[in-house]
């Protein structure tokens, strides 16, 4: 049984971090059911925060040419093409002379592309099998086949299709492992409950990178420091909305007090269920999950894995107290053994 503590379990992080007069915790609710994939969030973020480009490579991952969240991409819009029904919709290609779907095979081919983002670890080549699985959805039955896309001779024809889009961002976890492991105090918890890297303190040790359960934080080459979404700390301080949420034309990215957002999100899920979209679900909203709930949570239309999100993230420092306890016990045991050895040796 894991007990709740400052590293795990439900918690209001700002007061826990010592902000005595913290206001309500602020965050993002990203509703992917209304995302139109315009990438205005990516551009607005870079423009406001002065984030450099992350490479000019055609990745072939549908319309995603950024690849992932990196030190040079603090918002990232994922595009997933799937030969699956969108629930309520008339099948887009019903009645057309189509063959089998190619999207899993195209996704697999794209997974082999490397994107030089100017960061490390950046976007390493993906796993073709995993990529194909994402594109195929839960019914995926195996590898997409050895033939090049479109060459397979299966008799089945595709009629259903959906194109999922999702703007991903740092989750601003309740229990942020990046912050926990930061040796310099560069990563800190703000009065808004968000997690921010202080660029003038970061020494580039990179501990935060392996600590993040979502693979968000990343190092900029040449500069060596870690960079990620600050939830526009400077704008929040001035009473403004973060740049991405401000730019989003369809209110897919909503910014506000987390409690309100959670309420709104629950209502939205109910509406979608009522309208025949049973796949709609929330991700990262639950304060009892492995990271104590995210400050930036999502409404998804499929399993989190389809969007490249871990299904059950756990703060990597969850077991730290227990580990220290065990380490302490081990040290004591070692010391005892050493003493015993000496004692025994002298007898």
């Amino acid at each position: 049984m894991i007990e709740a503590n400052s590293l795990y379990g439900p918690l209001d992080p700002a007061p826990d971090a010592g902000w005595d007069e913290a206001g309500p915790r602020m965050g993002f609710f990203t509703d992917t059911s209304v995302c139109i994939g315009c990438k205005a969030c990516e551009v607005a973020c870079k423009e406001w925060n002065g984030v450099p480009d992350s490479g000019f490579d055609l990745l072939g991952m549908s319309y995603d040419n950024t690849g992932a969240l990196t030190a040079n991409s603090w918002r990232h819009v994922a595009f997933i093409e799937q030969p699956r029904p969108a629930g309520h919709r008339t099948p887009p290609f019903a009645g057309d002379p189509t063959g089998p779907a190619v999207s899993p095979a195209s996704a697999a081919a794209a997974a082999g592309t490397v994107n030089e983002t100017g960061t490390t670890p950046g976007v390493p080549p993906g796993d073709p099998q995993a990529a194909a699985r994402m594109a195929a959805g839960p019914e995926f039955l195996g590898m997409p086949g050895a033939q090049p896309p479109g060459r397979s001779t299966g008799a089945e024809s595709r009629t259903d299709f959906r194109w999922l889009m999702m703007s991903d961002v740092c989750k601003h976890c309740t229990h942020a492992a990046c912050l926990d492991v930061c040796p310099t105090g560069s990563l800190f918890r703000t009065e808004f409950g968000t997690v921010v890297v202080q660029e003038d303190i970061c020494n580039g040790c990179g501990y935060c990178i392996s600590a993040c359960p979502y693979g968000v934080i990343d190092q900029r080459k040449g500069d060596g420091r870690a960079w990620k979404c600050t939830l526009c700390y400077d704008r929040l301080g001035a009473g403004m909305t973060p740049a991405c949420a401000q730019a989003c034309p369809t209110e897919s990215i909503q910014f506000g007090p987390l409690d309100e957002l959670r309420e709104r999100a629950a209502q939205r899920v109910a509406v979608l269920h009522e309208r025949g979209v049973p796949e709609a679900r929330l991700y990262g909203h639950d304060p009892t999950d492995g990271v104590g709930g995210d400050g930036a949570f999502f409404l998804l239309l499929d399993e989190p894995e389809v969007y490249g999100l871990p299904p059950d993230p756990v703060v990597t420092t969850r077991d730290l107290p227990k580990m220290w306890k065990r380490a302490g016990l081990a040290a004591l045991a070692m010391a005892a053994a050493a003493v015993a050895a000496f004692v025994g040796g002298s007898s």
Partner: protein, 861 residues
Amino acid sequence: MAEAHPVGFQWVMEAKGRGAKVFHVDPRFTRTSALADTYLPIRAGSDIALLGGIVRYILENELDFREYVLAYTNAATIVSDEFVDTEDLDGLFSGYDPRTHTYNERSWQYVGQEETTGYRAADRERDTAAGLRHESHGIPVGGQVRRDETLQHPRCVYQILKRHYSRYTPEMVERVCGIPHEKFLELARAWTENSGRERTGVLIYSVGWTQHTVGVQYIRTGAIIQLLLGNMGRPGGGVLALRGHASIQGSTDIPTLFNLLPGYLPMPNCHNHATFTDWVDSIRHPGQKGFWANARAFGASLLKAYWGDAATPENDFCYDYLPRMTGDHGTYQTVLNMIDGKVKGYFLLGQNPAVGSAHGKAQRLGMANLDWLVVRDLFMIESATFWKNSPEVETGEIVPEECRTEVFFIPAASHVEKEGTFTQTQRLLQWREKALDPPGDARSELWFFYHLGRIIRQKLAASDKPRDRAVRDLKWDYPTHGDLAEPSAEAVLKEINGYEVATGRPLSAFTEAKDDGSTAIGCWIYTGVYADGVNQAARRKSRHEQDWVAAEWGWAWPANRRILYNRASADPEGRPWSERKQYVWWDADKGEWTGYDVPDFEKKKPPTYRPPEGATGVQGLAGDDAFIMQGDGKGWLYVPSGLQDGPMPTHYEPAESPMRNPLYGQQANPTRKVYDNPINSVNPSPPQPHSDVFPYVFTVSRLTEHHTAGGMSRTVPRLAELQPEMFVEVSPELAGELGLAHLGWAHLISGRAAIEARVLVTDRLTPLRLDGRVIHQVWLPYHFGREGIVTGDSVNDLFGITLDPNVLIQESKVGTCDIRPGRRPTGPALLELVDDYRRRAEMTGGRPPIVTTDASEREVG
């Protein structure tokens, strides 16, 4: 819409959130389709068949809004018995002249009015895109028409329309468009069920619709549906064009077109408009009904704004200073003239024809044969560097050392670095402030032209040549401010609005315009934007502080009216059609029209008013003639005059098509504008032989991430990285057929060029089953060129030049090509490849056959 207009698409999402059902018709599955409830893949260039199918569905099932149709459209009007439909002439209307490839409109007229059109040189009107001038006011027809209110007369418009579309069945839609008929019916049902007394539907198109040889008729078909369903002049209805850039509406109102002057006054033509009176009479048509009787005042006031004190009633307000059109001066004719050495200089302002216009090679070869070229842009674009890095340099067709054109690149200020107005699709003018100074030498357009004019006038000050008088006499006295001597945009807006010459008082309405030289107006339809000396376009009253029409946000022409023809939002007796859709109505107690918007009707004219016998002008309009700018006061389901290619939209195949027209022997628009020039060619289409050399259909459009020809996005890292390479989207089925691999290369060949692109194999594209065969379509973005951070071949190079006959817009949304795996050859081998295709297709130059039916030989009239 989500692809090209993501900000506007938020309102579609908002409507969807309230339960609206969204349909999306597009050759490829786009970001819009992803959010739509129903997506209908369609063959590019077949929209009239689809929309004609909807018209038939409405008429066959009697789903039209009958009271509206009877009262406000010309459905009951009886047409001349000389008229013969395409159903009887295999795709041609009566009056076709196979020699000039134009129509004589005599037989299209309302019965008894065959003589009123008089002689019309249709080929000359086509050359000057004369139809454009009707944008704001319709075409005059005689006032008194014969009607059959029962709609049973075989020659009434309703019955003619019904017969014309009788073969546009759901099965035919499937054969022509590739849309399965169940899906077609789903669309037809939704559209009709959501229109009528209680509900209205809006039709929104993007300008890709206009880039066809039948582009005007595409929009006409949409307008017919909207009229039949009672969706015009009512809140939530209408036909809206989403423009390709900010203020494209503004650039037709105050035109950047060769054939129009501000406010849709026609540019004088040397053949018809010898005198000022000839010119204004051609606009106002003395003796006919409608609102154009004031044309003399608008014309005089415009000339007074141009030439100030020099313009007097005695010299016809310097009318003779105005240039005269002699024929086609459109952009494509001009480019061909450049190639032929007839044009010496060229200004390009925020335009990149080397990438953005059809037949890129013709554009570049034309520009390479000038004395001088001025390019004003934010970034160094292909149209400024074609002489050193275009495809023609690689093939040796342009030699940089020998290219004679002197290019002047002049940096321009962006929209945030200058002040002025944008006019959007609803005719709303919105003032924008300057946010910051332009960098370095960059300057506003206003600055550039004001000072250019000032310097030219200085140089000509001592000239006594008659040809220089027009420039020397110009009123050119705008106040300037600041270190850069920036002219005042507000002063220009005030001149556009118009003012009383003696006092300088800004006019409040165009009804104040005088024909005696006492008023000067830069653009009469904009009069009122500076009423009371206040910049009305700068109004920013929050929507929370006013009603839902938000009349105090910005200013809409004409007269701040937000919905045109809004008299139609009330029934013939002047009562709202329904409480839910009430907008403008007759207040019997006050004896005037009232409502949320400015009524588009004479304020005091009661619904019961009937014109006395022989009344003309405004008096000729009855109290229920809602479409006040039309000669007969009615919305036109059938257009008796003013269109080059027929009174009713008809499905013709694109100029390049792999298919024979399933509906008529006439393959393509018989009046389309073609150019006989060795540089231009058209890939063969049935019934010509060798159409199989170019078996695939390609269509082009935009990506959200880029802007038009890429000059403002390929140059910006934050946009360029989002779509970093030229690509072609192909279906899995076509990829299998051709051996194309995802992320591999392919090249596409037409009779003009060969281009290469990376391949995206995607389920978003689908083959279509048409008339028993499978047709493959591919899609490409048209943003790429040789300059900027990310580069690639330009897909517009694949197109030839064939134009819509009404407005001279090129067909650049559909063409045919061949596709091969791998990269294209380079250097002279590239030319050999294209030549090889041209040989195989027997493209020996000259125009393709225009008439493909022998029906014209038995035509009538």
